[in-house]
Symmetry: D2
Subunit: 132 residues, 4 copies
């Protein structure tokens, strides 16, 4: 069990003519999980208003099992690494049989939206990261 | 109050550089509501396996208020019209202040996936429609 | 023949498990046509910088023939109606056989991004509309 | 210069409320480049009909510069590695200033759509890969 789980269902628009989820939609789902995790602490909208950007500077995914229409998926979020001005999150996509259908990672840099220079992870993000 | 409500949150990928939801994503959200409503009766995946297609032959939307990042939206689903081989659904997008930010309609035809000819609404769909 | 044609190809991410284009992606394609038409006169990015918003306040589509993976589509853009502070565009999706697979319409209101009040269609948009 | 270049323009639906391209859309663009490269040899639709699947088993991207609305991007495709039953493609996203705004890689496995077992890269794909 992880500290943050996000439950979702594969919807028609996420599938393609090969009958399974289109690979880029895995990254959309990962980001929905990320946004849901931020919600109790802040909202992405709130972050943008503070002139802080947390752009993803690297993303990667491994696809192990096809995810099909109407399949229920639990995304388990965990923190892989935390540095002064960046952090790495991992997403494990677990299907109804309890198998990891895919994993993904996103590397987030924290920057000032004006200068676009790295800044230390702000307190509210530190708090959210501490929960993982 | 309507018979089927679907709660969702505006996610970053649904917004655009103008800061609000991109207009086509309203139709994606409407379809997620539609799929969630079908779930207790059948799944879209189940329908496809029965050689039934329920293609949308007409769709329309009216945009009244901008929907912004992290905003919570309740989509109220209702049945507007039911005919022998087709039906019309309406979606009302209600924001946190209780205001209708948008409405949408989808016209669904029921067809045989082999012949692509209209067929009567199948029993499981009749049942689902009766609940609205 | 219309004054503005936009050629595109149905890509895998636009199709769904039913093997055809997902209905909301028609509206994405229509907007790509709209953006391509604006390019010779201005860019959407340029419009946003002038504190003008041209939100879509109504959209609708009729789906006549399935559009499948790798199918080449020409979108024919035409002007349906022009009023002081709004205009209506039509999109005709013509497949390789020359048949209209779908049509769509978008109603655009011109507003000031600060006051969100209607303003007259600006000169550069009038110029673009005059070409249709 | 590479053997296959795909030119595209950042469209409104690919941007988000932070004003730049949403990270998952980079993978959508990469796949459009991949599909355009296959077109002279075969279509993805043609591959699916031959009971061959070429699923992406790994994908990754590095984001270096923001890509903004209306920005013109050239995606340069190259072959990184070819093995008996899989291959790795690289995408370089070059902006109007000639700078690499991002890079991405996709690892493709070739499998039989019935058995889902690895099979050797078919002749038409070998031919396409030989051009890179």
């Amino acid at each position: 069990m992880t500290a943050w789980n996000y439950k979702t269902t594969i919807r028609l628009h996420q599938t393609d003519a090969a009958g399974v989820i289109f690979y880029a939609d895995l990254f959309v789902m990962a980001h929905e999980c990320y946004e849901s995790w931020l919600e109790p602490v802040t909202s992405l909208a709130g972050i943008l208003e503070q002139n802080i950007l947390v752009p993803i500077v690297h993303a990667e995914a491994d696809y192990k099992l096809p995810m099909r229409l109407s399949e229920r998926i639990t995304i388990e979020l965990s923190l892989i690494k935390k540095q002064t001005t960046s952090f790495i999150l991992q997403y494990r996509f677990v299907n109804a049989e309890g198998l990891a259908a895919a994993t993904a990672q996103t590397v987030h840099a924290v920057i000032d939206s004006q200068t676009r220079k790295p800044i230390p992870i702000p307190a509210f993000l530190e708090k959210a990261l501490a929960s993982l």
